[in-house]
Symmetry: C2
Subunit: 341 residues, 2 copies
DNA sequence: GTGAAAGCGCTAACAT
DNA sequence: ATGTTAGCGCTTTCAC
């Protein structure tokens, strides 16, 4: 850690006061007369004193840090969440310990342990899987403040997130009401459960009295642009007779769009397209992509507020609360031929 | 911090050994016989013991954490760096303290102080400005390990990054050798210096004996897709007579591309286009964008290696070393009409 | 108004 | 083979 930093003791020695007095003075205690405080402050500055927060954390039994664990940062919307969360935490005097699990549950568990060993006051986690939440449930059972960034109403864990089911329901509903009857859903990287969006898709069909054809479910092995491109390739080479595609995120939709451009398939005339997340790259695509707005600011602010509340809880943690934020649709050209780019 | 966690003392009390013995046993010291170790390990598990890393940090005077300060995460390439850096650090047993400065130098300074107070063993920073580096220089002068993620050979601070000047030189050289003589450069968010890419642009012109026209310098107030769109608007409404555009990042280039699509300007036939960074969205744009590859993995790995080396330095820090990684060009359709999408 | 003493949970000499 | 002591840098009673 470089040059041994100045300690309270150094200031005490130099001023002749005790460590205690210096500590109080530096924290602006009214028990210390203003002149003394000023004197001590001067010497502190001179010595380039910076309080050792590690020591303070040990005494106070709080670190004013929280752990943020995401799956990965390839999705711009997760990235935006990371940034917004850090900003919110910083505002409240918390430092962010950051890690990505790379969708590996073992890594997720390890990072949680690491942060716990570092005595992070709480954690915000975007878990790899909706199904494997036991380690997190156990944490909570031990009164450790955790808030998930994906919502599973039955998980027994606090969560704040967009209502993905509702978002998908609205998106697919929009396509259905535009007369589409055979709608492909591209859902990437959901090997471990997480079918909120698929459920929304199905509910929309049921409510509209449209039959569901599982041949229209396309499942690439990830959710990047390349996966969307691949998905489009399988869709169009299989001749599924689809007139619309619902991609479960904008990156996938962008991949589809690229495939269409390359193969002279017109969007939305030959095929309508909807994405999910509302990333800037979708808005500025050749054909601006209709999408479901992900309210990053709102999710981040509420999630942070929730952990902080949990941290402040007196005795046991209150019962878990799941907050689902209802998303809005953004209809652009990719699903609406009357809108012109 | 939830239920008071088990301490060494609790294990000591329960087993009858001293705290010291428990500590040694848990760390696998050969001084403790295997049976004792096993016994202690059992009780530790039973008590759900997790070492308090805050206490350890205080004693050892190292936290095994490093601070990562970025400007913002809106650029996918910075995002990728963040993720790769975290991965590298994690491999080496370091935890990442993360913060964004939002391009505000005051925030940058505050975060540096915060991380220093938390006794981060070192820092990786992508500074707001190339010009205002005094606070970081001062840190280094106090023997604090810092590595910049942008390279200023004269800053007197360690740095590992892509050679942006060289990248721009190559990109513009490519356009020049394709016969372009009036090349616009779109350079966003550089109010505070940072003209490496502009320098590369100029050097390429000089070496090719092509005159430089400052009317071709377009400076939007940021580097997002929207700013690129805006830049394209000013370019085409000013009738600059340009035949090529060099956008200093891919987001800007994507904005230009969107503008062209909307205004029936053909890329590359009417205007050639090059970006910088090689983000996936550029590769999969309607017209795949030629760009300068940003070697995220390499930069991240080397930067981490460098801080870790500095942290391990015995006495004073070695003299600062700036590592510039030479980037490769990726020529795609946007700058080459013989390539067909 | 100021200081002494104890302690946060751990590690590291130095005993025995 | 195990325990004792001191101390990391700070905060918090409690005393004078």
């Amino acid at each position: 850690m470089a040059k041994p930093a100045a300690r309270l003791k150094d200031i005490a020695d130099k001023t002749g006061f005790s460590v205690n007095t210096v500590s109080l003075a530096l924290r602006g205690s009214s028990r210390i007369p203003p002149e003394t405080r000023a004197l001590i402050a001067d010497v502190a500055r001179e010595l380039n004193y910076l309080p050792n927060f590690v020591a303070t954390s040990l005494v106070r039994r709080e670190t004013r840090s929280i752990g943020l664990i995401l799956t990965d940062l390839s999705n711009p919307v997760l990235t935006a969440v990371a940034q917004a969360v850090e900003g919110e935490l910083s505002k409240r005097g918390y430092t962010t310990l950051f890690a990505t699990s790379n969708n590996d549950i073992a890594v997720e568990e390890t990072m949680i342990e690491t942060f716990r060993a570092r005595r992070a006051d709480g954690m915000l986690v975007f878990p790899c899987s909706h199904r494997r939440l036991d380690h997190i449930r156990k944490l909570r059972a031990r009164n450790y403040p955790v808030v998930l960034l994906v919502g599973d109403p039955d998980a027994g864990i606090d969560a704040v997130c967009m209502d993905e089911r509702m978002g998908a329901y609205k998106a697919v509903g929009h396509l259905l009401s535009n007369g589409h009857r055979r709608i492909v859903i591209i859902d990437g990287g959901t090997k471990l459960g997480n079918s909120e969006k698929l459920e929304g898709y199905m509910q929309a069909h049921r409510d509209a009295g449209v039959e569901i054809d599982t041949a229209l479910f396309v499942k690439p092995s990830g959710h990047s642009v390349a996966h969307g491109y691949w998905a489009a390739d399988t869709i169009f080479s299989q001749r599924l007779g689809a007139s619309a595609i619902f991609a479960t995120n904008d990156s996938l939709a962008l991949g589809v769009l690229r495939y269409c451009a390359r193969n002279n398939i017109r969007v939305p005339d030959d095929i309508a397209l909807m994405g999910f997340d509302n990333i800037e790259f979708g808005e500025y695509a050749v054909t601006p992509i209709s999408t479901v707005d992900y309210n990053v600011e709102r999710v981040s602010a509420m999630a942070v507020e929730r952990v902080v509340d949990l941290i402040g809880a007196e005795a046991d943690l209150p019962p878990p609360r799941v907050t689902l934020i209802e998303p809005d649709l953004l209809i652009r050209q990719s699903s609406n031929s009357t809108l012109r780019g």
